[in-house]
């Protein structure tokens, strides 16, 4: 093959307009901001994939044990306060909206609105954690924390072993705990964003950190979207409608 073969279209560098090497936001090893943004966004998505698999292990455990012990899970689930769960769902969805709007205003270049919505998102995240805290406190009080000291005082219907009730609780705590940890990390990231937004770092050209944190935040929201029905609502019809089974 000859030397003087025609060049393939430049893979990047097409967007010459944004190609200002001088920009302090451009890391030295990237050619331009577009490339940097693409890399960041792909990186974040891949990270979210690892998160899916991370939670996935717990989901698998949940599915298998729940299929084996549907009743125990339903009973344990009915002790959760689904109203608080629903409240938290709403809080998180609103926070997702505010996050989306924060990204929107970053894209538009409105510093003020951007900060407002970032703060709102952060506060909503905090509200979520506070509600969660109350729920946890309640569980601790009732000795429903799995492991040492777990107690189940209510009557257990036939066919249900308290082992499996405890099993539900460890899944509940592991999943919501891990989720809460993600929320805390998200709130931490929000603090950084607010600081830099305040400093005017983010422009319509460069706001990747806001966008990427947004992706992360929405992902955490999605995890909760699954956790809520699976943990809080799964036995509702059994305990409310009575009987169940067949």
């Amino acid at each position: 093959m000859a030397h003087a073969e025609t060049l393939d279209a430049h893979e990047h560098g097409g967007a010459a307009a944004t190609d200002h090497h001088a920009s302090s936001n451009l890391a030295h090893h990237f050619d331009n901001l577009e490339q940097q943004r693409e890399a960041g966004s792909l990186g974040m998505w891949l990270f979210l994939v690892t998160e899916i698999m991370f939670f996935g292990g717990l989901f698998t455990g949940y599915i298998i044990y729940r299929m084996q012990h549907p009743q125990a899970f339903a009973i344990a689930s009915s002790t959760l306060n689904w109203k608080l769960g629903a409240l938290n769902t709403v809080v998180l969805i609103v926070s997702s909206l505010t996050m989306a709007l924060a990204v929107y205003f970053a894209q538009m270049g409105s510093r003020r609105m951007q900060i407002i919505f970032l703060v709102a998102t952060m506060l909503l995240g905090a509200v979520f954690l506070v509600v969660k805290g109350f729920e946890y406190a309640d569980k601790f009080e009732h000795h429903h924390f799995p492991g040492l000291g777990f107690q189940w005082t209510d009557a257990v219907p036939a066919g249900v072993s308290t082992h499996h009730i405890q099993m539900f609780y460890w899944i509940y705590f592991a999943m919501t705990g891990l989720h809460a940890l993600h929320m805390i990390i998200g709130i931490g990231a929000m603090l950084f964003l607010i600081y830099y937004a305040y400093r005017g770092r983010y422009t319509p050209e460069y706001h990747a950190p806001v966008e990427l944190t947004g992706l992360y935040w929405h992902f955490v929201d999605i995890v909760w979207i699954f956790l809520f029905p699976l943990l809080y609502l799964l036995g509702a019809h059994l305990t409310h409608g009575g009987g169940g089974g067949h």
Partner: protein
């Protein structure tokens, strides 16, 4: 490929849909659909719908490159693989017949 800006109206619409679906999932959970499985399936279907809405609009995947689509789809596919093949063991345990 410059980024696509989603209008505020879309965000509000999606938000509305998410709220409605949340209400729906709570409502459905409290009625007995006859079998526990059906309740679960419905709950999961609603959750998946909500997740898809968030992914497509809040996370802008609808307007993103094919690569992003592949990454997202791949992530969920792998979750399905993990759950599915593990279940292939649990669901078929004891199916082996042998004379006693």
């Amino acid at each position: 490929m410059s980024e696509h800006i989603v209008s505020k109206k879309v965000y509000y619409l999606i938000f509305g849909a998410l709220m409605v679906l949340t209400a729906l999932t709570v409502w459905v959970a409290n009625i007995d659909l006859g079998s526990e499985k059906l309740n679960t399936v419905v709950a999961l279907a609603i959750a998946v719908t909500k997740a898809v809405l968030v992914v497509l609009y809040f996370m802008h995947v609808r307007y993103s490159s094919r690569l992003t689509w592949v990454v997202v789809a791949g992530g969920f596919l792998w979750l399905v693989i993990m759950v599915g093949l593990t279940l292939s063991d649990y669901l078929s345990r004891g199916l082996l017949t042998y004379p006693r």
